[in-house]
């Protein structure tokens, strides 16, 4: 018997819906094997992974906090990737947005008014967009590879934040430790239901952004332009679309959303700027984009799922005493299998027995 993989003429609609379910089922089975090998009950492990974080209100709040930056960033990146602009530097744009937005409460702590926060959000979006404009400019002007330039600028941003919070922006009352002063109340993002948890209005921004970008992609000429330039730049040129303008549009949009995610994290959950700001959201969001199939609505679901695996990994560590590493292996397995199962959308797998093969040969 041999296994044949052949390309489908049309992507399979059935598998487009089935593949996440197949991936989940395979993850469960393989995960159960891994947990059994570790001597843990697989049902208890799967429960603490997927169910336990959803059983308590405070934990749902935490899920939203964790998912917010992932969703915001990946919504922006989906526009980039659909239009064939490979922005890998969302992490840097996230940090620069956080820095730009933090400038107000750090440099002008006395400026406390109801417009403080809106200004911070706008400034953060401008900061993220400006930072994303650099690789866009280099690409359109000098034809540099935006994957490399945007990625390298991440390290520049990281070191810049590090320098700021250890140097000029350091909290003078902080005993020489890095980190800015804690923001004043006007500079903090309010919590939605403070009584039950600390989720803040950031999640609403993320949902609104996803909705707007989804509408743009589906209902507007711009959305059409994005897809045409992404799939067939030549056809796009004939249609009179400018690839250079599109590069700027995609980078500025994704940079602005990443910057917004940055300030939401700072003004929401962390409440001051420090060098530990990002847990790699800019990179994790790339996974979210592809899990969400380059669709803003998909990004919302994928962002929540990825956030759930972070929380679930923690729950499993506590309730089962498994190590951080096994929790991560499980997370990696899930992501890998989701992407692997997507193969079924475009490819058909056939098990050919030798008898059938012989018949075919005749």
């Amino acid at each position: 018997m041999r296994i044949e993989v052949s390309r489908r003429q049309m992507p399979s609609r059935a598998f487009a819906y089935l593949s996440p379910a197949i991936a989940l089922a395979l993850t469960m089975v393989l995960g159960a094997v891994v947990f059994m090998a570790l001597g843990k009950s697989p049902t208890a492990a799967l429960y603490s992974y997927f169910i336990e974080p959803l059983t308590e209100t405070w934990s749902l709040h935490e899920l939203l906090i964790k998912a917010t930056p992932l969703i915001l960033i990946s919504v922006g990146l989906s526009v980039c990737y659909l239009s064939n602009n490979w922005n890998i530097g969302a992490e840097g744009q996230y940090l620069m947005g956080a820095v730009a937005g933090s400038a107000i409460p750090v440099l002008m702590p006395e400026f406390q008014s109801f417009i403080t926060l809106p200004l911070m959000l706008l400034l953060a979006m401008a900061g993220g967009a400006a930072y994303a404009a650099i690789p866009a400019f280099l690409k359109t002007r000098f034809n540099t590879n935006e994957i490399l330039t945007s990625l390298m600028l991440v390290y520049v941003a990281q070191l810049f934040v590090d320098w700021l919070v250890r140097g000029p922006w350091r909290n003078p009352q902080g005993f020489s430790f890095p980190g800015t002063i804690t923001f004043n109340d006007y500079a903090l993002l309010p919590e939605i239901f403070p009584a039950s948890g600390r989720a803040n209005f950031g999640i609403l921004f993320a949902l609104v952004a996803a909705l707007l970008v989804w509408l743009m992609l589906r209902k507007t000429m711009k959305g059409f332009e994005i897809r045409v330039l992404g799939q067939n730049p030549r056809a796009g040129r004939f249609a009179g679309f400018s690839a250079a303008k599109m590069t700027f549009f995609a980078f500025l949009l994704s940079g602005a959303l990443a910057g917004l995610a940055g300030i939401i994290e700072v003004a929401g959950a962390v409440q001051h700027l420090n060098e530990k700001l990002s847990a790699g959201y800019g990179f994790a969001a790339i996974i979210v984009v592809f899990l969400g199939r380059l669709n803003p609505a998909g990004a919302v679901v994928a962002g929540l799922v990825l956030a759930l695996t972070y929380l679930g990994g923690e729950a499993a560590q506590i309730s089962l005493q498994i190590s951080d590493k096994s929790a991560r292996v499980f997370q990696g397995m899930l992501l890998f299998l989701v992407l692997a199962s997507d193969t079924l959308i475009h490819y058909r797998i056939r098990f050919v027995t030798s008898g059938a093969a012989a018949q075919e040969a005749n």
């Binding site: 250890r166 009352q173 005993f175 020489s176 847990a279 923690e314 190590s323």
Partner: protein, 360 residues
């Protein structure tokens, strides 16, 4: 960020001016939970905290149950991890890195019945938060003396993590120890800007050796510098834990963080109903800092090290005793003057003899 200093400074105490919780009821069993910044397999900082946890289990047996979370990031995730512990029935939670400071205090406010112990921080905003730390610099002074005796060229290399007071304090203490033996001793510093990154740490060690250092010491947590020193045939000091396994012919000694006794003490206090808010900065005297066996050195060097260790342990000597000049040549400590803990805990200057510019 981790490993920062507990603060004795008055303002921190003022923040938590409310009276300590009065002794409550005794407990049958305590669930003690630990949050680590690194993996327990780092063989450095987090490993030592986990050794402390295991020591606690061994010492108190049935009376204690433990749980831990490793590699918990110090951003927005920390608060969630701590809150999850607080909700999962932990009676006392040890948050073992500086970056958990604000998160620890926030969660402590929400869970007044749970005790919180934050390592290396200075905020105690609620009566159920204590802080604890160790005077690692005491061991660094002894290392400096050994380095000055063992070095042929009179230059040591120091792999530093971040320019925070605790690390600066360690560098200064090392230099003062070395100068007590050889007044011309020089120290080169490389800032790795990481607590643990074996690749970067190894590169830093190589760079320092290429610049002429023939003794390596580190304030980063991996065993990579020890292994590089072994390859190059020079001597080195272990960090946080006894790293003799990684350099049997290389390690001179190591400053070992021994958290076990503190954990036993605090959990026992909770069992007895005598737990109270404290701010502990313990050194060799309190058993927080232990020197690994003195190895790979002649007997006279070993004797000197043991003598200094005994003096520090008995309280007869403090590494930061004058006369000491700052790097810029100005006087810091007069003859016989001992440094004020408040100054040490915010230390942001070098003493004379450090061949480096402190990043500002």
């Amino acid at each position: 960020m981790k490993k920062m200093l507990g603060i004795i400074a008055a303002f921190a105490i003022a923040l938590s001016a409310s009276p300590a919780l009065s002794a409550s009821h005794t407990m049958e069993k305590v669930k003690a939970c630990f949050i680590y910044v690194g993996p327990i397999g780092d063989f450095g900082y987090s490993y030592q905290h986990d050794q402390g946890r295991l020591h606690l289990e061994e010492a108190l047996g049935d009376k204690v149950e433990t749980a831990y979370l490793e590699s918990v990031p110090e951003g927005a995730d920390a608060e969630r991890a701590i809150e999850r512990f607080a909700r999962s029935g932990c009676n006392i939670i040890f948050t073992t890195s500086f970056g958990y400071m604000d998160a620890t205090n926030k969660v402590a406010g929400k869970f007044p019945d749970v005790k919180f112990e934050h390592a290396t921080g200075y905020k105690r905003e609620h009566p159920n938060v204590s802080t604890y730390n160790s005077k690692f610099y005491e061991g660094r002074y002894i290392q400096g003396q050994i380095a000055a005796k063992m070095s042929k060229v009179g230059v040591a290399g120091y792999i530093a993590s971040f320019p925070i007071p605790e690390v600066v304090m360690g560098i200064n203490s090392f230099v003062l120890g070395a100068q007590s033996v050889n007044p011309d001793f020089k120290l080169k510093v490389v800032w790795a800007n990481t607590w643990i990154d074996p690749g970067k740490e190894a590169d830093a060690a190589k760079a320092l050796i290429d610049q002429g250092a023939d003794i390596i010491t580190q304030h980063t947590d991996s065993t990579a510098p020890m292994q590089v020193a072994t390859e190059r045939g020079i001597k080195a000091f272990g960090q946080a834990s006894d790293m003799i396994r990684f350099g049997p012919q290389t390690q001179l000694t190591a400053v070992v963080d021994d958290w076990g006794p503190y954990y036993v003490k605090r959990v026992s206090a909770l069992l007895d109903g005598t737990w109270e808010q404290v701010d502990v900065w313990g050194g060799m005297k309190e058993g927080h800092v232990v020197m690994a066996p003195y190895t790979n050195m002649p007997d006279d060097v070993k004797a000197l090290a043991e003598e200094t260790e005994a003096k520090i342990k008995s309280g007869a000597f403090d590494p930061f005793t004058g006369p000491v000049k700052k790097q810029d040549g100005s006087d810091w400590l007069a003859e016989g003057e001992v440094a004020d803990p408040g100054v040490l805990l915010g230390m942001n200057f070098y003493v004379a003899g450090v061949d480096d510019q402190l990043p500002q």
